[in-house]
């Protein structure tokens, strides 16, 4: 058994939430640069230029990329040969509290759906846990903004709706969202499992490397087709029209009931902030 000191978990969460809110991932910056070169309309090009200039300013470390520094989502993988003494969820939340305070990040979490009193420290994080073999702990940490999350959806299609039904749902959802989720977006799609599993699959899909594709041929083809079709919608940067509506489409799937075809679409704004760390 390998012992993990929970203060290490707290520290890595604290450092991670600060880092991702000031430094946009280089692979994402490269995609936005490519999109800018591809835009013909002046207003769309200028929006992408501003997005690039913004990440340069934020990288200096004084002002976060976006005022919505999100609610924290953690995909936690715990190796079964790891020994943890204490409450790892508490350690993660302590890291969130310290990071959001020390990093001058906005506290965007309220306690109750109707009373809406702010927790004042951005806790609690939303934590999904998986047990895996090995003696490591892996945390994939994201700061997820509210604007793009609000445009996300879960729909229970029927099996005979098939691949065409999924395509139509995705295109309609993104077209109707328009400029609200801050395009150019990244689209995470979860197909299968059941009602809640599809949503988790969609969220996990958003955390994949930007340049990877599904290892299932049919799913990979669907990712490619949807990428092309979404960019033909003409929504464009911030909804003002243009060539770039999405930067990537990622689909994860899981076996499902014979009666079901659950589909979840999780939308990520252009400021995709997440990081994977291993302890």
């Amino acid at each position: 058994m390998r012992k993990i000191d929970l203060s290490e978990v707290t520290n890595i969460v604290k450092e991670s939430v600060i880092k991702i809110n000031y430094e946009l991932d280089n692979s994402l910056v490269a995609l936005i640069q490519k999109a800018k070169a591809n835009e013909t309309k002046e207003i769309s090009k200028s929006i992408l230029s501003d997005i690039l200039e913004n990440q340069d300013i934020a990288r200096e470390g004084n002002i976060p990329l976006c005022q919505d520094t999100g609610i924290v989502v953690v995909f936690l993988e715990v190796g079964t040969s790891v020994q943890i003494e204490g409450d790892i969820y508490e350690a993660i939340n302590e890291g969130v509290k310290q990071g959001y305070n020390q990093g001058y990040l906005r506290k965007s979490v309220v306690k109750h759906p109707f009373l809406r009193e702010n927790t004042k420290d951005n806790s609690p994080a939303i934590i999904h846990t998986k047990l895996v073999s090995g003696d490591k702990i892996k945390l994939h940490i994201a700061s997820k903004g509210g604007g793009s999350e609000n445009m996300s959806t879960v729909v229970m299609l029927t099996p005979t709706d098939g691949i065409e039904g999924v395509k139509k749902l995705v295109l309609d959802t993104i077209f109707n969202a328009g400029g609200k989720p801050c395009p150019p977006i990244i689209v995470g799609i979860g197909i299968g499992g059941n009602f809640e599993k599809s949503a988790i699959l969609a969220k996990e899909a958003l955390l994949r490397d930007l340049d990877d594709s599904s290892n299932d041929n049919i799913i990979k083809q669907l990712e490619d087709e949807l990428y092309t079709e979404i960019n033909k919608l003409g929504v464009g940067p911030m909804g003002v029209g243009g060539e770039t509506t999405c930067l990537a489409v990622k689909i994860n799937y899981f076996p499902m009931h014979i009666a079901s075809l659950p589909v979840a679409i999780n939308i990520q704004c252009h400021s995709a902030r997440h990081i994977e760390v291993i302890l």
């Binding site: 913004n54 990040l105 906005r106 604007g147 400029g179 801050c182 940067p237 909804g239 003002v240």
Partner: protein, 171 residues
């Protein structure tokens, strides 16, 4: 490109056409969902609604030596219904992001107001156009409090104008 100074007159509104870039200077106020809920029930306000500009934003905390934290727009559609009574009291410009309802657009035209958009997710860049900030109402709302901001050449685009044009539909 049009340069505008606050307060905003009816004449200013006539100049604005969807798709045009606007550089806004002067005093503007922030308000999001919860602040709107309270504002619409206030009999007396600490600022003049006539000719005013409301920016839909909840900034990040400010560091010493900076005028404000990250300050980009939030989605405007959530304020559609709540904006109507404020327009009736003279609110002239709203700055946010994204499309809004047809009902809102009709009310906006009726009240001779305009809807501008700023680019979402560029709060670091936009904060450099804000010279000063202070909380003037509802401090208990945290990031959702009402701030008074002084802006200089704050960049926006006209989204809906009084002539019925819509940047999201006409592209």
């Amino acid at each position: 490109m049009i340069k505008l100074n606050t307060p905003i007159s009816n004449n200013d509104i006539k100049l604005l056409e969807a798709g045009e870039k606007v550089l806004l200077s002067g005093i503007i106020y922030t308000a999001r969902d919860q602040a709107h809920l309270r504002l619409i029930n206030e009999k007396e306000l600490p600022f003049k609604m006539k000719g005013s500009v409301i920016y839909y934003v909840g900034p990040t905390p400010k560091r010493d030596g900076f005028s404000i934290g990250s300050s980009g727009p939030t989605s405007s559609y959530r304020m559609d219904k709540l904006a109507v009574p404020l327009m009736e009291r003279g609110l002239k410009l709203m700055i946010g992001k994204g499309d809004r309802s047809e009902e809102f657009r009709k009310e906006m035209i009726k009240n001779n107001s305009c809807y501008l958009i700023a680019t979402g997710g560029i709060g670091a860049l936009l904060s450099s156009k804000i010279i000063s900030s202070e909380i003037i109402l509802y401090e208990d709302l945290g990031a959702e409090a009402v701030y008074k901001l002084e802006v200089k050449d704050f960049p926006c685009f006209v989204a809906y104008d009084i002539y019925g044009n819509n940047i999201f539909k006409d592209n």
